[in-house]
Amino acid sequence: MKLRMTRKPVIPFVTGIPLAIIAIFVVASRWIVPNATRQDIMTGVTSPGTAGHLFGTDQLGRDIGQLAIAGAGSAVLGPIVIALGSMMIGILLGTFAGYIGGWLDLLLSKYADLLLALPTTLVALVVTGLVDGGYWVTVLVLIMLFSPTDIRMVRGSVIAQTGRPYIESAKVLGLGRLRIMFRHILPNVLPVAFSTMLLNVAFALVSMSALSFLGLGVGPGVPDWGRQLSDSRDLLDRNWGSLVLPAMLIIITAAAINLLGDWLQERYEEGSVQR
């Protein structure tokens, strides 16, 4: 309980800077690096620091730095959709399971058990690989795989709210179940849901780029950090930039989102304890 140090807004500041830069890349990459995928076979692989190429080039003569900036979009957009989608499922099903309970609760927790019985990477790899899924199929599969934890999380916090006096008084007032669930309980669940969503974005980012590292997800030629990493294995001895830049981008982005989500969660928990 001596975590008072986190009170100083160091974490939002430290994590905010890289995240803001990534956000700019996502929104404006088509203007910042319009020629990111332009190939120049004559140049071939060059090491970092070569004139005009801060991080060098790959086999096709594409600039590693420009490719990485252009790859921010596919790295971040899918994970945001995954986190939003799985949290929407989580809120809908978790609220019903937690508040109404009964057979619905049992069914949903069995479904969650089934999906949690296997490692995410394995299921995502098998399903997207066998159906030849592109980017958005991968997103859909990951929404399915992420939803059980969200259902459980929402269910838990709904149950924690159900015993509180304000719910009792809402019941006494004769409010309908749907109204109690979504007008009264839901606003109290949302802060935790938001921080969980942030953590899910980070986790989804790592999973998505893992799949494209294995050659699934984004199509060939599309700029993507995971694909850049998998390509870099063949040029390790000639251009270390092709490895270090995308690797650091994935690690820093995931870590920043994780730290921010963790900080929010902790803050929220402290707040609810003091209340």
């Binding site: 140090m5 019985a117 490692p119 066998l130 159906v131 030849d132 294995l214 270390w240 690690i251 870590a255």
Partner: protein
Amino acid sequence: MDSAHSHRRLTQLLSRGSLTRFIIVRLAATGLLLLVLSFVVFALLHLTPGDPARNLVGVRNVTPELLQSIRDKYHLNDPFMSQYLHWLGNVLHGDFGESIRNNTTVTTLLSDRVMLTLQLSSLSFALTVIVAVPLGIAAAWRTGSALDRSMSAASIVGIGAPTYAVGLLLLYVFGLWFNIFPVYGSGDGGFDRWWHLVLPAITLASGLAAMVFKLTRTAVVAELNQDYVAFAQSRGLTHRQIRSLVLRNAMIPVATSLGLVFAFLFGGTILVEVTFALQGIGSLLAGSVTFKDLPVVQAITLLTATVIALTALAVDILYYAVDPRVRKRGAQ
């Protein structure tokens, strides 16, 4: 008389809160889970786009006779449920069919590869436990200290850091730059094998250690906040006595979750094996998925699920047997 006695004995055994009842219920649940999963895994063959028979032929020359023989062999003209039962019957005898990519049975292919994955999982598991558990205890003992805060932050980064990125960075620094460790491959067995597994194991352990660190820290902190600790302190028990009490209780949840960690590790080696070009179950799965080698994919998925489900079962039973509080809760 005798039957009345055995009946009473049985009800006693199966009464709420008894260990036997618990084991039977959990066994049944695990069996059901695996049955459902086996059904899903079998259905993969039909969910994959294209004619299942053609998918099973692979790149061999497709002749009508060959397609017919494949259909006969896998009973593809039978109703779906009867196909499934045939397949399940074979699987229960250890027969997953033949690999499409390699001309061997899936079972031979798996038995060649499983050892490496097992060695890799064990090594990273050992590394994780040796590093993360003591650090977690130390951090919990002094919450808010510099050690606690830096380790907690590091664990957040570690949980988020992708295995393949960490692996490639390690490979570059220690394999290519300093030239200490081998870069690719599984080694020639014996010590060389283990030497080849050091970097992959460290890679796998880095994410896992972060998780185990958090878990241990939370368990010890929760235990330290118990009333009996305050009581023991006010009674004047020594620091050492209290520590042994707290650790004994806190290690129950830690030890049980470690079982699950190991099981998941077994399925989580895909990325590391691909990164370091190791010939294990994980890289086999990745290759088989890309090649649509369905019998192999089915076998590995089901095998991993079985390992995880059985470990979860064992962990649950151990938990139940070791911790009287859980038994009491179950009885209520």
